[in-house]
Point group: C2
Chain length 337, copies 2
């Protein structure tokens, strides 16, 4: 691993994206979102994903010129089309819109059809929390998760994000419905590590902690077996119903061709001062403080988002950690773009 | 097990509740919710819970005369106090209110503080689905689930319900954040069965499928280990923030004294005809049909809610299955009430 200053990373990515046809402003935000994922330790959906993202633009899967279009509105609910545009830009704009709706209505819900992979879902949780909002958002995916009891990948692993703002560090849960995301499996495999618990089945149908065996079989384990299987199904149904877009079984099961996804972004205004009886900003801190002080000595509890902040601070101080070959690959893309 | 016609069950429960001070109408609805849980196979939160519920009324934990009170409103968001009233009646009324708000705003969110155990959460999912609404609701609970990595039960198992209406049978997910709810553990233990997968740790900290050992240790496993642990935390934070009520660590950790809970009820109007491009009622059926037809031969996929309907139809035909000693106990309560 080498360390590259985040400004340099963003600059290189932005140059690539401008050469591929994005406006300077949009390229800047898109580059920032990729760089920030790596900054926060989510390499699989940061720099690690950038070459595939560029292939998607070049193949026409992702239209860099398309911006979201309002399809229908009903008070705090809105339906948009992502028009097969840039996934992370569409998602960012959708959460911004949900936040605006929440400032008016207390709550905003933006459902987006026909969009592309949002990369790191947690980004939109942090975005809302920075604006003082509670966030709940999720995406469907191509079929990549077998329903419990089956070996056929018919469900999506449909990542779910829930964020609560907290002055001392936001609480942001970002989790796929599989025990390990495919990005997570890839990271473990590249580090040559076994998973800490069984993560799926191998090709012989045996439970395994070998990340590569699960990537090969396509049989990750849903969290909580039948429970994660059921939750993945419900998230897909809600995404399809609210957005009017595609559900998982309508999405191509080829990672290089995955497109036309459905996503939901909910923001809730935490400025509940009209409600009066509880200071929201402090509640999260009270709960976390109580947890940390109540745990037996030696037990280290990490709240969702805690590790992100630790890695972020390290990246800001030392630069973003990136594999040298990946960084060379990205700089070569800049030359060829 | 004996079989008792549902009308007879409801009548007996209603008589008990009227004698305990409920109005005829409220006693009727409360009795119906208890009877319907058993009718649908959720005995642990149906008749099996009724004697404890009566003890709660007699001890003053549950105030049969209290009805929910509006505390604050902001468009589609409302905050109510349950005033330590009857948990299932408070929850029912809250979902009715969320449905009414959704008819006006497209979406309604009712957060309730100071309420009691809602018994079977799925009931409020079915309620919304019957009204043609999507539902998302959850409750916090007393501390009964150790955060991943700890043996101290500091989180709640915070059941989450998601419902999607479907003419051929609603799709209703009703799941606690522990791999098995305490009600589920009790049912397995009473049937003398082992759990199908590890459900928690025994008192020596070993993973086990023995339901009694987990009840004794108080160490059920969160679904997906750290993921369910994180999700339980977020649901508690959201319930506390939105309702202004208690969070899990403020709730007494004695099952007989558990009270003053916080709950959230969200309804989304599925009448998206103004949106136009997708017939919501059919989408759920298309997705389930596709799943069922795509699974390899011999694999039986059960969607969330499917088994409920099967048991319900059997109960309606043959009567509700109830343990003879429990039924005698309930009839004895009627005599003594």
């Amino acid at each position: 691993m080498i360390r590259v200053p985040i400004q340099e990373v963003q600059e290189v990515l932005r140059e690539v994206l401008e050469k591929l046809g994005m406006s300077r402003e949009r390229a800047g935000l898109c580059a920032r979102l990729f760089a920030e994922s790596s900054r926060d330790g989510v390499h699989s959906h940061g720099l690690g994903r950038f070459p595939r993202f560029v292939r998607g633009i070049r193949s026409g899967l992702v239209n860099v010129l398309a911006t979201p279009e309002l399809v229908a509105a009903r008070g705090p609910l809105e339906r948009w089309s992502g028009r097969r545009g840039v996934g992370n830009l569409n998602a960012w704009q959708s959460m911004e819109r949900a936040i605006t709706l929440a400032r008016t209505h207390g709550l905003g819900c933006v459902a987006v059809a026909h969009t592309n992979h949002w990369m790191r879902g947690g980004a939109y949780g942090w975005q809302a929390a920075e604006a003082g909002m509670i966030a709940i958002c999720w995406t469907n995916t191509m079929p990549n998760l077998p329903p419990w009891g089956s070996s056929a990948p018919l469900l999506g692993n449909n990542p779910l994000v829930i964020a609560v703002p907290r002055p001392q560090g936001h609480v942001v849960l970002d989790m796929a419905m599989s025990q390990f995301s495919y990005g997570g499996l890839e990271s473990y495999r590249k580090r040559g590590e076994l998973l800490p618990v069984d993560g799926g089945f191998d090709s012989q149908g045996r439970l395994t902690r070998d990340p590569g065996a699960i990537e090969a079989s396509g049989r990750p384990l849903p969290i909580g077996y039948w429970k994660g299987s059921g939750l993945a199904l419900m998230l897909d149904l809600l995404a399809g119903l609210l957005s009017g877009g595609q559900v998982t079984h309508e999405i191509t099961a080829d990672p290089e061709q995955e497109t036309d996804l459905s996503q939901v972004f909910i923001a809730i205004d935490l400025d509940l001062s009209s409600f009066g009886d509880k200071a929201g900003a402090n509640l999260a801190d009270q709960v976390l403080s109580h947890l940390q002080s109540s745990l037996p000595q030696g037990v280290q509890f990490r709240y969702p988002g805690q590790n992100v902040l630790k890695i972020r601070n390290e990246s800001l101080a030392k630069g973003i950690a990136v594999e040298p070959t990946l960084w060379e690959e990205i700089k070569a893309i800049r030359q060829s773009a």
